[in-house]
């Protein structure tokens, strides 16, 4: 077995970058592996499934009946817009050579590649798509924070700019050979790039847009909990592609990432259910579903760096910390992060990025690095992401408000629901 982690400094990111930069030059690596390719195509399909239908159902079930279609539409158009944008320019900005902060235009329209071009042991086309599915889900994760109160037009403009201005640079900095990668940050599958970036940006957007009408006064329970559970389940299943796929190969490290992903998630579900039981007297299905996502987020950056025992600790900690944020801090603080994007992805992602170093297995520690040193690197990277993403997001939103006037629907339209006001459709019709 080829253990990429132990040989490759900060892990997959460097391996990926190295593979890409090496493309075209002959090397021992430069042979297509059908097994690795099979796994990566599967993983890519799984990551799309996380957004469609996974996330769409998870968020769609959590909102009120009158807004479920607006959520589905926001997920669909993320797959539409990001899917095109990624091939046209996003991939190049993230994985083109460029500088320490962003790529360049050398890979625009993928004109540099053919079916024969490899990235490591897989076709570069497959690598492009795998990464493209990350570019589809990351903006979509933010939807939950401003659910039920953002118009479709401004939303579409927002995620389009956000991909180019926030996601691609961050992906480049961490995975494309940029500055965080040179610090030595470990972010195997996207604790920083995907979850912290979306979670902290989402929080900024939630604060910027203000709470939903009636927030805090009127109950807004999920309109369909089975839908939430299907969504969470498909997220769990798809996340195996997200995490174990991030190895870019079907090997022992992928196997480790697969195992830690599931173990941390199981632990998080169990922990949340028991804590809620003690704290509230009963445990809820919504709690268990939320816990699954919290566990998945937490293990994402750490999945190839910890032992099975470490995964249990990551999942346990992730459940506890997210529980506190979702169940205690948010209600007290009073902000309207409607579906808890910050509490789960922002906080869970930061925890995971830290836990990566806290529980790092000996075989995963880069050569010449101490655990203490790695902890500091992780903290620095967390701090960087926690500042960069929301600040950039606010700049984008201010600009968009200048263009669109308001990003929100009118009061009347918000009361009517976005399904009607934005899309002229009803989710459920009991016809005669």
């Amino acid at each position: 077995m080829r253990n990429r982690i132990s040989t490759a400094g900060a892990g997959r990111l460097v391996a990926a970058a190295a593979a890409l930069f090496a493309a075209g030059t002959a090397s021992a690596e430069d042979v297509l592996s059908a097994g690795d390719t099979a796994w990566m195509m599967t993983s890519t399909a799984l990551v799309l499934m996380m957004t469609l239908p996974g996330l769409a159902l998870f968020y769609g079930g959590l909102v009120r009946t009158k807004n479920v279609l607006s959520i589905l539409m926001q997920c669909l158009i993320s797959a539409g817009m990001m899917g095109v944008l990624w091939v046209v320019v996003g991939y190049s900005l993230a994985f083109g050579d460029g500088n320490a902060f962003v790529g360049d235009f050398s890979k625009v329209m993928l004109n540099h590649a053919t079916p024969d071009t490899l990235a490591g042991t897989i076709p570069e086309y497959v690598f492009v798509m795998f990464q493209g599915m990350f570019a589809i889900i990351t903006p979509a994760l933010m939807i939950g924070a401003f659910a039920e109160r953002m118009r479709f037009g401004p939303y579409l403009a927002f995620i389009t700019i956000w991909l180019v201005a926030v996601y691609c640079p961050l992906a480049h900095m961490v995975w494309g050979g940029g500055i965080l990668s040179s610090w030595g940050a470990i972010d195997f599958a996207g604790g920083l790039v995907v979850h912290m970036s979306s979670g902290f940006s989402a929080m900024a957007a939630a604060l910027f847009l203000g709470p939903r009408a009636g927030h805090g006064k009127q109950p807004m329970p999920p309109h369909n909990l089975p839908m939430v559970v299907i969504g969470a389940s498909l997220l769990w299943v798809g996340w195996f592609g997200f995490n174990a796929g991030s190895e870019l190969a079907a090997d022992g490290t992928a196997g480790l990432a697969f195992l830690t992903t599931s173990t941390a998630t199981s632990t998080a579900v169990l922990t949340w259910v028991l804590v809620e039981w003690l704290h509230q007297g009963k445990s809820t299905v919504l709690g268990a579903a939320t816990a699954a996502v919290a566990g998945l987020v937490s293990i994402t950056p750490a999945c190839a760096s910890v032992t099975p025992g470490g995964a249990i600790l990551v999942g346990f900690g992730g459940a506890l910390i997210c529980y506190v944020f979702v169940m205690i801090v948010k209600p007290k603080a009073g902000y309207d992060d409607s579906l808890d994007v910050f509490g789960v992805h922002g906080i869970g992602g930061a925890w995971g990025a830290l836990a990566t170093a806290l529980f790092i297995a000996p075989f995963a520690l880069p050569e010449g690095m101490t655990q203490g040193g790695q902890i500091l690197i992780q903290l620095k990277s967390i701090g960087f992401t926690a500042l960069f993403a929301p600040v950039a997001t606010l700049v984008i939103l201010v600009a968009l408000r200048a263009v669109f006037g308001s990003l929100r629907p009118t009061e009347e339209d918000e009361a009517l629901g976005l399904d009607q006001s934005e899309h002229s459709e009803s989710a459920y019709i009991e016809a005669a």
């Binding site: 109950p219 329970p221 999920p222 509230q280 809820t284 919504l286 979702v326 169940m327 205690i328």
Partner: protein
């Protein structure tokens, strides 16, 4: 003619319908409704947000009967729907000015 409106617990519907058939009623109409009353609701939890549910599911049953049937029918419902527990519901009686069977155009007692 009288219209008898009863608000009952949903799981009692079958029993009540049988009692009414036995009492000679050949038609009735029911709809789902929610009741607020002495019977306590419950609390639901959603990610730490508590949500007080005061309205409980009830069945609203309507049946129009001849004046001379009214007392017997009221008694039949009251008996069949009774569980001796709070929330069993109410029966209200109203005067009906007229009744028409759409299919035939029959009016009055003949229509029901």
């Amino acid at each position: 003619m009288k219209k008898i409106e009863a608000i009952i617990k949903p799981f009692k519907l079958d029993e009540v319908r049988e009692a009414l058939s036995a009492a000679g009623v050949s038609g009735l109409t029911v709809s789902e409704s929610k009741g607020f009353g002495r019977q306590k609701g419950h609390t639901e939890h959603y990610r730490g947000a508590e949500y007080q549910v005061d309205f409980l599911p009830k069945i609203r049953l309507e049946v129009v009967v001849r004046d001379d049937q009214a007392d017997a029918i009221v008694a039949a419902i009251a008996e069949a729907a009774n569980t001796q527990k709070i929330g069993d519901g109410k029966i209200f009686v109203f005067e009906v000015s007229d009744a028409i069977r759409i299919r035939t155009g029959e009016r009055g007692d003949a229509a029901i």
